[in-house]
Symmetry: C2
Subunit: 229 residues, 2 copies
DNA sequence: GGCACGACGAGAGCGCTGCTCTCGGTTCGT
DNA sequence: ACGAACCGAGAGCAGCGCTCTCGTCGTGCC
């Protein structure tokens, strides 16, 4: 006797299958996901899908949540697989993991980091999973700062910026100097830009050797942050 | 007697008005531009629009081209308005101009730099205007290198990356060391990431003082590139 | 100066979309 | 056992991009 009723279990499986089919459509057809097409693929009529997702946006939100978690898993796993004292190795591993995941799931990456859909507002559930990759990067720097191998940069932060960043460190990595957080955020911004440029075809002709270019660019940011070689 | 016939002139005005109305719709309704809605706003029936643009994508392409040029104009003008020897001032001015234009035209920025539309392939006309902002940044660094105030970084570039970048400098700023170009591209990537994060709402809660944050971050990249203070 | 041609706008229509509502049939909790 | 909740099918609505046809009107040519 299952703890959940048959109906509840079938419903859960149904939701999973809908998401799986939708993800497949996303991968092939791009961002304009069609509920009717998903329903057709499942041998259902489109109105039946609304028993499981009240609207197309809710389906997209579910996919977005799972995508954030998949990306977060990949980045954190890559970081954890490296010797914790090898800060630069961890940095490169985390960056590469993000890039690899994005290249393997371009449509989902575009869903997460592309232009926001006009009417769509990201629900609050997404903000925590969305912070996992940058949080991982902060953690690498924080470990280096904690044992003294990363020294504080002598940036003169404008006071309002220092205050904003202080609130972030308080909830994320207490004690981390704001100037270091500012630098790691520069690295995170750069990482996002690198992946987006590559994925959205902006260096198609210009830079054929994209992997080496990526590693070099992330290395530049590691220098800026002050990760020891 | 006008050189062009009345019909040709009316047609040109019509095209301009369609683009203007479409741009207005883009600003209010976001990226999903509706041909029918544009036609309604002009008191026309939708099929009449096809006399001027063979498809919705062609209208979008026209808007994209104009947007690239507007952004390029803004960045180049901001750069030119600063004393050419004030490299850091030029850098900040160019970066701020890009941000200001993006904040003033968020939908058009999203059109240029957001996730690519699935079926849409950017025509070759767009690649040159698209290169104007990064070219401006390269020019700032190049001027500094030419008169010796920016010294070459001793990065060890992997050979394939060096070769790729050498091809770019050859057509853009002959004689510029590849390692410097790599750093400018890091700055350009970062600039794009900064604007995108801000525009797509990624630092809504985290960083309220966005302008000061922006200036500090672009300053970090100026440091990385080696622009003198 | 007439005239055939081309451009033009309106309208109908096709297939697609997201979404709503109604109607039978099944399953669940009590 | 029975009412309630759930589920899938079907019809339908408004909107979309796009095509085709049909009168109308300006244009360049003879």
């Amino acid at each position: 006797m299952p703890a959940a009723s048959i109906r509840a279990r079938v419903r859960a499986e149904m939701i999973d299958e809908i998401k799986a089919v939708a993800r497949r459509h996303l991968a092939t057809d791009g961002a304009n996901l069609s509920l009717r097409a998903v329903a057709r693929d499942m041998g259902m009529v489109s109105s039946a899908l609304y028993r499981y997702f009240p609207s197309r946006d809710d389906l997209l939100t579910a996919l977005i949540l799972e995508a954030y978690d998949a990306l977060g898993d990949a980045v954190e796993a890559a970081d954890a697989a490296v010797d914790p004292r090898d800060l630069r190795g961890r940095w490169h591993a985390a960056c590469r993991a993000a890039r690899d995941w994005a290249l393997a799931h371009p449509a989902e990456y575009a869903l997460l980091y592309g232009s926001p859909v006009p009417g769509y507002a990201a629900p609050d559930d997404t903000v925590l999973p969305a912070q996992r990759p940058p949080t991982t990067l902060v953690g690498i720097l924080g470990d280096g700062y904690a044992d003294g191998r990363v020294t504080v940069a002598d940036d003169d932060l404008p006071e309002p910026v220092r205050a904003d960043l202080a609130e972030i460190t308080a909830g994320l990595f207490p004690g981390l100097p704001e100037s270091l957080l500012a630098r790691v955020m520069a690295g995170w911004t750069q990482l996002f830009g690198l992946i987006s440029f590559e994925l959205f075809g902006r260096l198609n002709r210009a830079v054929p050797h994209r992997e080496a270019y990526f590693d070099h660019q992330t290395g530049l940011m590691a220098d800026l942050i002050g990760l020891p070689r």
